[in-house]
């Protein structure tokens, strides 16, 4: 508890001494940790691997941006986006769980839905089509835009803490225990009379709502939304790999994963991206990724805990 409070205090004070680029890196770390934590609720705790979480980010972002064009502030649009994302999450979840899709089949179902969202968004002119949406930069805080990059830092930090708080809450209640039980042995849970469908569906809704909130942040930080970027497989993958490397189904896993992966990507790009060898930095990143997996095959958080407990015993 003390360690967590200290960490938060440090993160709150940090922007005062960081360069603009470092602030941006932290924003990325927090934002992806937030999305990863959202994923963690359904993917980590409940063990229902979704590889289509980009769809929720996209729906959330598009909703907020389209409402903004019609004069609704993104501060409200954000929640409308989250709600719509939750509806989509409920539909995907209901179909998947009702028809009993497990493991890899569920992965594919989520991918297919995300791809359908992407194809529809690129073809429907009313939502911008393949050109996407461009948001006018005003720097007006009422429009979820800020002249100072550090404001985004605090919002991203708040989002990450929010998702972590929600997850911690879930973890401690019966809901969380059921979810873990479902992950470990769904058939046994059913036999014991747990309403498996209900709990899995709830986890999906919480998760997609949070990811939908993230969409607004994405839209109003990048100022453009393109179907390929927000509904695409690469974003879903970015969301999934963080909790996996950190330790899926653990509270700190997604955060640790984000603190490992984002800097790896940025460092390899700053150091190897300047040379004439185009692509060298992504080769380095790929090799580092493989190295991390081989080094931490159980995930970073379980590894850390093992390390710490070994110290305590000794």
């Amino acid at each position: 508890m003390w360690a967590a409070a200290l960490a938060v205090a440090v993160l709150l004070a940090l922007p005062a001494v960081l360069s603009g680029y470092a602030v941006t890196i932290f924003i990325l770390i927090f934002f992806y940790a937030f999305l990863a934590q959202a994923w963690n609720v359904v993917g980590g705790y409940a063990g229902q691997l979704s590889a289509g979480h980009a769809a929720f980010v996209g729906v959330g972002g598009y909703t907020a941006a389209l409402l903004f064009e019609r004069g609704v502030t993104p501060w409200i649009g954000m929640f409308a986006g989250g709600a719509l994302a939750a509806v989509l999450g409920a539909i995907i979840g209901y179909l998947g769980f009702r028809f009993g899709l497990r493991g890899f089949y569920f992965v594919l179902l989520t991918v297919a839905f995300a791809e359908i969202c992407r194809i529809l968004a690129s073809n429907v002119e009313a939502v911008g089509g393949a050109v996407g949406l461009y948001i006018t930069f005003t720097g007006n805080p009422r429009q979820f835009q800020f002249q100072d990059q550090r404001a985004y830092y605090y919002i991203a930090l708040a989002l990450m803490l929010l998702a972590t708080g929600v997850t911690a809450l879930i973890e401690r209640r019966r809901f969380g225990i059921y979810l873990t039980a479902i992950r470990e042995d769904e058939t046994a849970c059913e036999a014991l009379g747990v309403d498996v469908l209900k709990y899995k569906l709830l986890a999906m809704i919480v998760s997609s709502f949070l990811a939908g909130l993230g969409g607004t942040f994405y839209a109003f930080q990048n100022f453009s939304l393109q179907p390929g970027a927000v509904f695409g497989i690469p974003l879903s993958v970015e969301i999934v790999i963080r909790p996996i490397i950190g330790g899926a189904g653990t509270l700190l896993g997604p955060i640790l994963g984000s603190f490992i992966l984002t800097p790896l990507g940025e460092v390899s790009r700053s150091y190897f991206g300047q040379s004439g060898l185009h692509g060298a930095h992504l080769i380095v990143y790929g090799v580092l990724l493989v190295a991390v997996v081989l080094f931490l095959p159980q995930g970073a958080y379980p590894y850390l805990r093992k390390l710490l407990s070994r110290r305590n015993i000794a």
Partner: protein
């Protein structure tokens, strides 16, 4: 063994990472160079144009420095700080932040409109003048101009020396009409085809809007515009559909990969047409594309931003570019990035101070630059939106397996061949 090795690499990188994060901003007063951030997609799906942009910018910086740097400022040299977006939208803003933190006092980039709009926010937030070298979406500059007009932002830091989507369309419609008139034909069945991505849709919307506004004598089959998902794996169904429309002229908007599928398919299905005339896209003129497409691309026309090869300096630069890029054409992308650096050098010559972004913006607004290597309709200057109205396109045609400027007349090196000879 493996794990120890990876641990060491990992730690080393982590330490290096800590270093870059805490690197302080370069002290401006001491700089003997002027750092210019050039952000392009050098890896990922748009790596081909992105690498062309980067090389064009690098060559231009070398040229400026070899000629004595910024003379009015004591010969200050330009220094590029390079950024790679990896063709990911969110990296536009990240890379812009990074190059600015590493001391860049101006920005250029970034080919892809979505990424460019992300960079706009960095330019406006951190007051870094940004010259868009390539990106066609009208909103990029128009949105900032609107924000300034409404008083939400004080100064516009974003300018563009590239045709916008709508000016692409207007020029294409104009050239189509002039070429058809010159060839004494009035096609009644022009079929528009495009790749359904950000670029293809921007271009097709611009073209159709301009066509509707101009109401020319020739006609596009507006209800039968055919789009394909990019990248396609097969276009045989699409081409059969076009064939059933009995077209006179096919107007495709392609990417290089889709051009490689589309043009052979048009030949295979033996479409009887006057010719292929594109409203503006890559895929036809690149050396590599011609080498692969051979006869299939002969006589194809496309309206693109093009270098002015009547200028001996252009020929010289194009020769050097070819050598340094393993035989590539000095084209839209390399050319506009090359010109952007020269426009920036000209701005820096005239600015009252290199350290005051607002002084640089003042100099940008007063630009009237006529030594660009691309084909312009007049000197480069920036209108109330921040765009250069003289950035225009040229109709080129593949003749004898080489791209040649054929229209408008003042830019033409050869007479166009249209209708194309029957095979």
């Amino acid at each position: 063994m493996t794990s120890r090795l990876s641990r060491r690499t990992f730690l080393k990188t982590a330490v290096a990472g800590a270093a870059v994060v805490t690197t302080p901003v370069t002290l401006r007063a001491q700089a003997k160079t002027f750092k210019l951030g050039a952000v392009h997609p050098v890896t990922g799906p748009l790596a081909e144009p992105g690498q062309a942009c980067r090389l064009g910018a690098q060559m231009a910086v070398e040229a400026v420095n070899a000629a004595g740097g910024i003379k009015s400022k004591g010969g200050v040299k330009l220094e590029l700080v390079l950024g790679d977006t990896q063709t990911k939208t969110e990296n536009g803003r990240v890379e812009a932040e990074r190059v600015v933190t590493q001391g860049a006092r101006m920005l250029m980039g970034s080919f892809d409109s979505g990424t460019t709009n992300g960079m706009v926010s960095v330019a406006q937030q951190r007051r870094v003048p940004f010259l868009v070298d390539i990106a066609a979406a009208d909103q990029i500059t128009a949105n900032v101009a609107k924000s300034v007009a409404e008083g939400q932002q004080k100064v516009q830091y974003v300018y563009r020396n590239f045709p916008t989507g709508s000016s692409f369309g207007r020029k294409a419609v104009q050239y189509f009409g002039e070429i058809f008139a010159e060839a004494k034909v009035t096609p009644k069945r022009v079929v528009l085809m495009y790749c359904n991505d950000l670029f293809g849709q921007t271009q097709s919307r611009g073209f159709l809007a301009a066509y509707k506004a101009a109401k020319p004598a020739w006609t596009v089959l507006e209800d039968d515009v055919i789009a394909w998902p990019e990248p396609p794996s097969d276009l045989s169904t699409e081409v059969s559909r076009v064939k059933s429309l009995k077209p006179d002229v096919i107007s495709p908007i392609t990417r290089p990969a889709s051009a490689q599928i589309l043009l052979p398919e048009i030949r295979k299905q033996r479409l009887d047409i006057l010719g292929i005339v594109g409203p503006g896209s890559p895929g036809f003129y690149e050396a590599g594309q011609i080498a692969i497409l051979k006869d299939d691309v002969e006589y194809a026309m496309v309206s693109n931003p093009w270098a002015n090869f009547k200028n001996p300096r252009t020929i010289q630069v194009a020769e050097e570019y070819k050598k340094r890029s393993n035989g590539k054409t000095f084209d839209t992308n390399s050319g506009y990035s090359y010109d952007a650096v020269h426009v920036i050098a000209d701005v820096l010559e005239r600015t009252a101070s290199l350290d005051d972004p607002d002084a640089i913006v003042d100099a940008i607004k007063k630009t009237s630059f006529s030594s660009g290597l691309m084909q312009y309709a007049g000197p480069i200057h920036f209108n109330e939106l921040g765009d250069n109205p003289n950035a225009v396109t040229t109709m080129t045609q593949i003749l004898g397996q080489k791209p040649v400027a054929v229209w408008p007349r003042e830019a033409a090196l050869q007479k166009f061949v249209f209708p194309r000879p029957k095979a």
